[in-house]
């Protein structure tokens, strides 16, 4: 058949933005792309999603900030970042050189801080979308409340949308009773898309020293260990809303990425497993294309929600 000899169409479109393929980087696991540029050709990725950036530089948490756990890791970086000015001057300028979409992940201690960053980015042509991290478990002053209360989530979404110059993705935390309700709240607030999952809150205690392994005591769990929870939530969220869903949580292979697409994601992000295999993002792109060819599926977009009863 002629169609099967053609290369599948890997592109996907989310909120009017067309990505050359559905494979993105998960915020905070890929810097601004710079550090992984030596391992993968950034031009081959659907998007680079940057580390969360705030209005001013943040120190983050004391160390130890990371811990290994069975099939994954805990992190309590505490959103260290150089602040929006340096980010624009340096990181955004670096990404200027690449033919990939740029999604900037935004964090803040207060709603005003979020809005400040979003406003500053409004005129930046190099920014294709914004991802609002309302779900970081390591920020104590309020951010966790944004992510777990539907009314607050809806309100901050509305406020962000009012000042945003780019389409807005609300990034949801999995540490909630009802993810569908949170997805609907983001949609009601006008979000153009949602992404999930952020990390599950976890803890590790060293039984020899009888101390918390992380200085912050709790940290965010990520990696293959969380994939079944993430797939379930992506499925529930995508059933609950009409806006597109970007799925992530433990992706370690092209097959994992396909699983998220089948569950309802329009695109996917590779996170902690970049640390295990720094070339993973590119391998996922290649593997997903090979999957489409093997199954005679003409386009990646057709995978979205294609799981059968």
């Amino acid at each position: 058949m002629n169609e099967q000899n053609q290369r599948p169409d890997m592109s996907v479109t989310i909120a009017g933005v067309t990505f050359k393929n559905p494979v993105m980087t998960a915020s905070g696991t890929f810097g601004s792309g710079m550090e992984y540029g030596q391992f993968v050709d950034l031009n081959r990725l659907g998007a680079v999603v940057t580390k969360g950036v705030a209005s001013v530089p943040w120190e983050g948490n004391p160390t130890p900030r990371v811990a290994e756990v069975y099939g994954g890791m805990l992190n309590a970086i505490g959103l260290q970042n150089p602040g929006i000015d340096v980010f624009i001057e340096r990181d955004l300028a670096f990404l200027e050189g690449y033919d990939t979409k740029v999604i900037v992940n935004v964090c803040g201690h207060t709603e005003e801080e979020y809005l400040e960053v979003v406003e500053r980015l409004a005129g930046e042509h190099r920014v294709d979308m914004l991802e609002i991290n309302v779900s970081c478990p390591n920020v104590k002053q309020g951010a966790i409340a944004f992510g777990t209360d539907p009314a607050t989530l809806c309100r901050i979404t509305e406020r962000v949308k009012r000042v945003a110059g780019q389409p807005v993705i609300m990034k949801l935390t999995p540490n909630v009773t009802d993810i569908a309700e949170m997805a609907r709240a983001a949609e009601a607030g006008g979000a153009d898309a949602i992404s999930l999952i952020n990390t599950l809150t976890g803890m590790k205690i060293d039984v020899e020293t009888r101390r918390f392994v992380l200085a912050n005591r709790t940290g965010g769990l990520s990696g293959p260990a969380i994939k079944p929870v993430a797939v379930r939530m992506v499925w529930q969220a995508s059933q609950a809303v009409k806006i597109p869903v970007i799925g992530m949580g433990g992706i370690a292979s092209a097959e994992d990425a396909v699983e998220f697409m089948l569950a309802g994601a329009s695109a996917v992000a590779v996170g902690a497993m970049n640390f295990h295999d720094p070339c993973l993002t590119e391998r996922v792109v290649d593997g997903m294309e090979a999957y489409l060819v093997r199954h005679g599926i003409p386009s990646a977009a057709e995978l979205t929600g294609a799981v059968r009863g």
Binding site: G28, G31, F39, P57, E59, T63, V66, P82, F275
Partner: protein, 262 residues
């Protein structure tokens, strides 16, 4: 720098729980290798996904001939115990070379005092070789728990004057490396140290204004500067992070003692 699959040449226990691993690196393991740099070794178990940072103790080859690395590590936790089980011929995934390493031009020639404590000793061996080759006069003060003096002869062969301290007094001076240095009245223009944090703090104080380089350890996830997991508090605002934090895996692991708050 790359993640590549090396071949195990040998892996032998040279002291209690201290293993000497020799690797033949893949061709894609490239880039200049400098003393003080490290690699990330990936245990094979699917339960353990993060690399173990291990300093380069020695290396050879490069250019036409394949690079060989010597890594000496303590099998302490589950991951390093797994690595210690490597057999000749096994494949092992390695990320690196990582980190800045020592700036040899700022050390040699001259009188360099190296101070290594415990598993902080191995990284100083490659440094010793590089320094004596460049005409430096190297004194290596090595601190051990007991008389199991791993690598001591290698330091001597590399041209260092070796001072020994042991915690139990079974060899050299009873006490720590600084006790050995004081006992020998060793003099130096510059100091380089690697070992546990209390030792590094003491050495920073002892250096008293002389140039002093410390090799730091911190928990790591990515090893390449992306995750911001491995930071150390810095005196000044760091050029990359724009806060008082520098990444040990990228700006380090070797820092000027006065630059870091340890």
């Amino acid at each position: 720098m790359d993640k590549s699959t090396a071949t195990v040449i040998s892996c032998k226990e040279i002291a209690e729980s201290i293993w000497d691993l020799r690797l033949r690196m893949a061709e894609t393991f490239s880039g200049e290798i400098r003393p003080g740099q490290f690699v990330g070794l990936y245990p094979g178990s699917a339960a353990r996904l993060l690399m173990r940072p291990i300093s380069i103790c020695g290396y050879s080859g490069g250019g036409e001939t394949p690079v060989q690395l010597r890594l000496v590590f303590r099998a302490g936790g589950a991951g390093t115990r797994e690595l210690a089980g490597a057999q000749a011929g096994d494949a092992m995934d390695v990320l690196g070379p990582l980190g800045n390493g020592y700036d040899l031009d700022r050390l040699a020639p001259g009188r360099v005092l190296l101070l290594g404590g415990g598993i902080g000793i191995p990284p100083l061996l490659g440094l010793t070789r590089a320094l004596t080759e460049r005409g430096a006069q190297v004194t290596a003060a090595l601190g051990y728990r007991n008389g199991d003096l791993f690598l001591k002869e290698d330091f001597e062969a590399a041209g260092a004057r070796v001072l020994i301290a042991t915690e139990d007094g079974s060899a050299g001076v009873r006490g720590n490396v600084l006790d050995a240095v004081r006992a020998a009245q060793a003099e130096a223009d510059v100091l380089c140290a690697c070992g546990p944090l209390p030792m590094l703090r003491a050495i920073k104080a002892y250096a008293a204004g002389r140039p002093c380089w410390l090799s730091l350890e911190e928990r790591m996830a990515c090893g390449v500067g992306a995750c911001l997991g491995c930071v150390v508090r810095t005196r000044d605002i760091d050029a990359h992070s724009r806060v008082h934090n520098a990444r040990v895996c990228t700006e380090g692991p070797v820092f000027a003692a006065e630059d870091v708050e340890i």
